[in-house]
Symmetry: C2
Subunit: 155 residues, 2 copies
Amino acid sequence: MMPKEAAQEADQLDRLGFLLARHGAIANLRIQQAMAQLGLGQRHSAVLLHLGQGPISQQYLVETLGIDPSLVVSVLNDLERAELALRRRDPDDRRRHIVEITSRGLATIDSINNVVGAVERELFADLDAGELELLRELLNRVRISADDPPCGAPE
Amino acid sequence: MMPKEAAQEADQLDRLGFLLARHGAIANLRIQQAMAQLGLGQRHSAVLLHLGQGPISQQYLVETLGIDPSLVVSVLNDLERAELALRRRDPDDRRRHIVEITSRGLATIDSINNVVGAVERELFADLDAGELELLRELLNRVRISADDPPCGAPE
DNA sequence: TATTGTTATACTCTATAACTATA
DNA sequence: TATAGTTATAGAGTATAACAATA
């Protein structure tokens, strides 16, 4: 049984909000699948990318990524088991862990950049460099407020 | 020349793929919250919008929205309980249900359009009409393939 | 007493598969 | 036998909250 009015459909499904949400979800899914090829969930990658910038505490990850402390524990357990990161006690405050990336973790960051780059080339194959810059600029001007989910947060 | 740490951050977090995924997720979340004000999940709204175009079978919803038959049942149970839609047997094939929207359901579609419109005005407040058209055009040229999730599909 | 991190539990969402009734 | 829809169950993913250790 087919819908009779295609015009109405255009009204409702062409809404820019829906378009952004939908194509964003597709981009997200593609990235997710690419990460999975590396054996990483999205959060694992997000944590790893942050660790790439220097040692940090778990609390910092909780705040920055906007995810639950118990999730950080679980992700770090995985990363540590895979020898991509390691935890050690902070001598200045023995409650804290200093989380560091390993050399294997650094190599994995390169892999992440490669696979995400490949996804991007696929997604944006029909846009030239100028259009990509334009899209980036327009997306950056979409209003997101302070309480929006940081990258790596659940959906 | 930027310090090395900041350059790396820009490399990784400014990736257009991440930007699209992230801002799309925010748009999605806002829409979701707006729907929730009406007591509707995203799927409820998606189903309702499709019903607005005329009576359809449950099978059609399964195929169009890409969601599981059992989920369609559950969503329709909710919609029926709220008197937004109703099911009746198809006399031509008594296995099928013909699903119709009610007048209350039609009114709810108006509400959906209102709240989503409000979300869009918020998200896109810093863009003028021409820029919105440009953004729409660029988003439409992002490559999505046949097996990408239809709207209403799980994430 | 407050904070950091951990563990254990419960809950939500979804897919899977078995089932009923029609064809 | 195949199809439309329904129901029941199990699994993944997540939040919640209790807990241990430091401060």
